[in-house]
Amino acid sequence: MREIGVRCKPDEVLITTGAQEALDLIAKTFINPGDIILTEGPTYLGALQAFSAYEPDVHPIPFDDKGMRMDLLEEELKRIGKGGAKFLYTIPNFQNPGGVTMVLERRKRLIELSHEYDFMIVEDDPYGRLRYDGGHVIPIKALSDDVLYLGTISKIFAPGLRTGWIAAPKSVLSKINLVKQGTDLCGSSFDQVVVEHYFTDTPWEKTLQTFVKTYHSRRDAMLAALDEFFPKEASWTHPEGGFFVWATLPDYVDTSSMLPVALEAGVTYTPGDGFFPDGVSGKNSMRLAFCYESPEHIREAIRRLALVIEDRLELYRAFLEAGAL
């Protein structure tokens, strides 16, 4: 934590079974049915799933290439009033699914707003160490002790070891700890020993460098292929790290119904509507993951996907021109 600019004592950290459990614990501890939760829109599907069991009212706030739009957040806060929102959930670095990073000024502004309108900030940061270019932006947690910061080893070591943590004020952690005891008493100590060994006795930083290099070349391959093949009507984010690019097509294209066609062409993606609480917004967007395939495969996949989109666009244009939509 200190390396990324956060100072906290051991009793301000709680080990969890991955960041996913942390999301569930936070939801279980703090959400009452109907409570308002603010998130980026689109946001991490797993967070929406973790929250939804406790029946909150999730309000998504759009982002641009500088992260969550603070002007729109402020408008929303004005509408719901001081004390109206329970917490704000954000993935400030290389957001899932957006790929965008919240700039420092917005992080500062977010903290001001949290004081002004009295809500907690939950900062989920699984991808922070996977930066391919640009400079490190300090965590929101480093700017305010009150933030609940979620870390995980899933993206830098092994997701299967299910090890993450929450760094938060002691008073908050003690509440979450009670809930955790009711959930699983404690995490697996065997997994934690393995994790400790990895991060003390292996050259993990070197290993991480090789991951970063690999992902970097894949990200470059995807952005280059998007530039080369995607239709001019499409736009997409330019992530400086992480795993994902968020692409937006003209609003009459429905990426869910296009998916079977793409699958037939041998390409898959995640349709955008799943990343919104209403399941309807984002119908014309898609999440493209560059973490898994080789640069050559990524280029070919984007080429084929572009053909599928182009074909849909032609049909759509014909309907649009005829005034039939």
């Binding site: 014909a318 309907f319 039939a324």
Partner: protein, 327 residues
């Protein structure tokens, strides 16, 4: 016997097919057959040639499974298989063939048919993409008796994928676009209200006989793709409740007989053999045929196994009988 069960494939209906195939394998094993499950990969032909099954059962659904592709291949390899021939499949695959097939069957037999089908229009994707057909969308209501609501569906393919009930001309564009996701041809036809039924048929030629019609009652809304895969989303009632056909029992019995006759007519008109399933709607006056399926679903939720059960047959004995003919 050594039976190769083909399943999976890469159509939109892969999931269904894997579920059907699993059930078919279990049923055939129960009957004492040696089963070789096969997915349709690049190795399919070499594998079939080295495994030398005595007969094939195709549990493939959708494209390649029901359009004559796999049947044509098996005919070429001279491997006997259960179900309709390649040329029959090429006809049944495209639902737009139905009116003409019924018409020529009627002419050939010089008799009126019990089976009827919704009036519709089939249009190709290119007509919209390259020829401006989208400017004529308002004509559907004039061309199709009764006008809205209309049914929009892909001409080929099953499992209710891409099927829409369209209430107004304003919703027509979106429905067409979605249907074109699944096929290059789309049918716009009368929306038929009534009792939805599936009639499973076993046997060939004049030995073909119907199993009890299954009534399909979606517990909420439409009989959608999702509903077909979900427990409890749709109720199958077999045999059809007479009360769903007519208030009077004798009259309902007569209607049920009429429905069964209509289904058999379709089966014969296309020249299907071994097995098939005819989907139709009893609209209060006539059996309106929607389609015939030559590779009926065999999953836990499927209609064909439900019909077998209703007539006291186990799926295992039915499939055993079908494959054993080819010994």
């Amino acid at each position: 016997m050594k039976v190769a069960v083909l399943m999976g494939g890469n159509s939109f209906e892969r999931k269904f097919s894997l579920a059907s195939g699993k059930r078919v394998c279990e049923a055939l094993e129960e009957a004492g057959h040696k089963v070789v499950p096969l997915d349709t990969t690049e190795d399919l032909v070499p594998t079939l040639r080295s495994e030398r099954p005595q007969v094939c059962y195709s549990a493939l659904h959708g494209k390649h499974g029901e359009d004559g592709t796999i049947q044509g291949l098996l005919e070429f390899l001279k491997i006997p298989f259960v179900g309709a021939s390649a040329s029959t499949c090429r006809d049944t695959w495209n639902k737009a063939t139905l009116p003409a097939v019924l018409q020529s069957y009627r002419a050939a037999n010089d008799q009126d048919l019990t089976a009827s089908c919704p009036v519709g229009i089939c249009l190709a994707r290119d007509a919209f993409k390259d020829m401006g057909a989208a400017t004529a969308i308002e004509l559907f209501a004039e061309r199709i008796p009764g006008g809205y609501p209309l049914c929009v569906k892909p001409a080929c393919g099953g499992s209710a994928m891409g099927v829409h009930r369209v209430e107004h001309v304003e919703d027509m564009g979106r429905a067409l676009l979605d249907a074109f996701t699944y096929d290059d041809e789309v049918i716009v036809e009368q929306w038929i209200e009534g009792t939805e039924l599936a009639v499973s048929i076993l046997g060939s030629g004049w030995d073909a006989h119907v199993l009890p019609p299954v009534e399909i009652v979606p517990t909420s809304g439409l009989f959608t793709t999702e509903a077909r895969l979900t427990d409890g989303a749709v109720a199958y009632i077999s045999p059809v409740r007479l009360g769903s056909l007519a208030p009077d029992e004798a009259q309902a019995q007569a209607i049920r007989a009429e429905i069964e006759r209509a289904a058999l007519e379709v089966y014969h008109a296309y020249g299907v053999h071994d097995l098939g399933r005819v989907d139709l709607i009893w609209d209060g006056a006539q059996a309106q045929i929607l389609e015939i399926d030559v590779s009926p679903g065999m999953t836990e939720h499927s209609l064909f196994p439900t019909a077998c059960e209703a007539s006291g047959l186990s799926l295992s004995s039915v499939l055993d009988h079908l494959v054993s003919q080819y010994a």
